[in-house]
């Protein structure tokens, strides 16, 4: 087994990459912006500050949140293939968004469109339902939670199809576009909305660092070492769901990032959550911002939703991981 990098070096390198992407990515695109023009008045400055920077910042946050959440789910369920949407979070969010498009088009509250708020509510509702079903059985089991998640996902998919059938063509188009997941139309408001939820999620993972490390050795071992496993599960589940719900509300579902990034970073920095969680926040953010840069440049001037791109990348990567795992075993 390869030794992981020294944690400080690894986090330092990821931090540098994060900063490079944050400042570099807004300069690139269908129309290049020279560094010198950024601080002068003009179209270039407007493109940089108003259009691209918020989008890159949201991508950095979104990728970080998705990866950190993926890490949380993978440890919680001791399943390397779990990802933020395993528990029906995406399904619930999509159902909320679709209902808002169909029945309350254009409405909004607290500065956010109703679609966003409805999908936030949907994500949390789905998680609550799954957790509720699982907790009714006294000693919650990992398998029960996963199966409940699949059940909720199937139900929401069916309901989404039903709502789409009731909708007109324009609404259906909006719904499909929402479900592709993208960062095309964002401003600083969305960035500021996602930021606190993401930091809260990261803080909960870091505070539970020892407990999550123990969970790697199995639930029974963790419990016998003094971890209150049901409470830990509830805490992490809640934090991660809020983080993902808030993100999906403004960016739509963006798949596979939460699966791929923790996998790659584990090989780089090892398994200690104290290092791995911030590494996911930085590395996942840089990854998604670069993916979004590719999404808005490869087919320029067309602006591909980044969710489509990550899904296109993610499927083959997922299969490759499975094959490599099998070969190693």
């Amino acid at each position: 087994m390869r030794r992981p990098l020294d944690p400080r070096l690894a986090l330092g390198l990821l931090g540098l990459l994060w900063l490079a992407v944050a400042f570099g990515a807004p300069l690139l695109g269908s129309q290049k912006v020279a560094l010198g023009e950024v601080f002068r008045d003009g179209t270039a400055a407007t493109i940089f500050w108003q259009l691209r920077l918020p989008r890159v910042l949201l991508a950095l946050l979104a990728g970080g949140a998705l990866s950190t959440a993926g890490l949380g789910f993978q440890t919680l369920f001791r399943n390397p293939l779990a990802e933020p949407y395993t528990l029906g979070v995406a399904g619930g969010a999509a159902l909320g968004a679709v209902l808002a498009v169909r029945f309350a088009e254009g409405a909004g509250a607290w500065g956010l469109p109703l679609v966003a708020l409805a999908s936030f509510a949907g994500a949390l509702g789905a998680t609550a339902l799954v957790a509720g079903v699982a907790i009714r059985r006294k000693e919650t089991e990992t398998a029960t939670l996963l199966l409940a998640g699949i059940g909720v996902s199937l139900s929401t998919s069916a309901l989404i199809l039903f709502v789409q059938y009731l909708a007109n063509a324009t609404q259906t188009f909006q719904m499909v576009r929402w479900m592709m997941g993208g960062l095309a139309v964002v401003g600083y408001r969305e960035v500021l909305w996602v930021l606190p939820w993401t930091l809260f999620g990261l803080a909960v993972l870091l505070a539970g660092r020892w407990e999550l490390n123990l969970l790697l050795a199995g639930e029974e071992i963790a419990a016998s070492r003094g971890v209150d496993v049901p409470r830990l599960r509830f805490r992490v589940l809640l934090a991660v769901s809020l983080m993902i719900g808030a993100l999906v509300a403004v960016a739509g579902p963006i798949g596979f990032v939460g699966l791929m990034v923790p996998h790659a970073l584990r090989r780089l920095v090892g398994h200690d959550h104290l290092v791995l969680a911030p590494a996911c926040l930085l590395g996942g953010g840089a990854f998604l911002a670069l993916a979004d840069l590719a999404a808005r440049t490869v087919m320029a001037p067309a602006d591909l939703p980044v969710g489509v791109l990550t899904a296109l990348l993610g499927g083959p990567v997922f299969l490759l991981l499975l094959v490599l795992r099998r070969r190693r075993a």
Binding site: N213, L216, E220, I221, G226
Partner: protein
């Protein structure tokens, strides 16, 4: 040789454990004295693992109560309990992406403050002591998944020792091990019991091991105490034939009870 102080280290009073609608354990009364080694035997499904989980505090009593030195488990937090009782379960996850040292260090969790960034020198010393006690210092930096079954068992026992608890509870510590590793683990437990004065509870199908280690043997049948007493009394042909519903040809030789299923 067995000392009998007035207050037992662990006690179960009227312990009953239901799983679903079925009673899998009890009612059972049990006292475990300081420095005692209690071996629990019985056929599959007799409630051995459930008893150990209850004694470890991993499962709550449905009725009755459990006590550590007179204090009910319900008055102790999970971490307080983990500082008093260490448990080595039988079923363990196949893929644990940690090295032996990391696994053993996790045993220090009940002593860590919630936001403590790094383990203290005291924790590291406890890890070294645990590795040395088990004799696996050389394996410390190896990933657990690369070890043989026997080495892995040693690592899990070291992880339990790092908890520095006065009671050690082990579920089938020698199952699935080859004869040499069975002997190694048995020798280790014997040493821990005789030299470090650990209080040990172990469940096993290996009647020889039960006779070798146990000061007393508890035979469970359908969740109840079928027999409880000295190894020579419980691990005799008569009670065993009834317990396992099979004829036994027992030859008890001190200190080990050598037993074989009759042909």
């Amino acid at each position: 040789m067995t000392e009998r102080p007035a207050e037992p280290v662990l006690a179960a009073r009227g312990l009953v454990r239901d799983e679903g609608r079925r009673t899998v354990l009890g009612p059972l009364d049990l006292e475990i004295a300081e420095r005692e080694c209690l071996a629990v035997v019985g056929p599959n499904g007799a409630g051995k693992t459930t008893l150990l989980r209850c004694l470890s505090g991993l499962r709550a009593a449905t009725r009755g109560a459990l006590f550590h030195r007179g204090r009910p488990y319900s008055a102790l937090s999970r971490r307080e309990l983990a500082r008093r009782i260490a448990y080595v379960p039988q079923v363990r996850p196949a893929e644990v992406p940690l090295t032996v040292r990391e696994v053993v260090l996790l045993g220090r969790f009940p002593y860590l403050a919630r936001l403590q960034l790094a383990p203290s020198a005291l924790d590291h010393r406890a890890v070294e002591n645990a590795l040395a006690a088990v004799g696996i210092e050389a394996l410390a930096e190896r990933p657990l998944d690369e070890l043989s079954g026997g080495e892995r068992q040693m690592a899990w026992i070291a992880a339990a020792l790092a908890q520095e608890s006065e009671v050690l509870i082990l579920d089938e510590p020698t199952t699935h091990l080859d004869p040499r590793h069975q002997r190694d683990v048995a020798g280790l437990l014997l040493r821990l019991h005789r030299e470090s004065g650990a209080t040990i509870v172990l469940a096993t199908h290996d009647l020889e091991l039960a006779g070798l280690l146990g000061n007393r043997v508890l035979a469970l049948s359908a969740g109840r105490a079928f027999a409880l007493g000295a190894p020579g009394e419980v691990l005799a042909a008569g009670p065993l034939a009834v317990l396992f519903d099979a004829p036994f040809d027992a030859e008890i030789s001190a200190p080990a009870a050598r037993l074989r299923l009759a042909p």
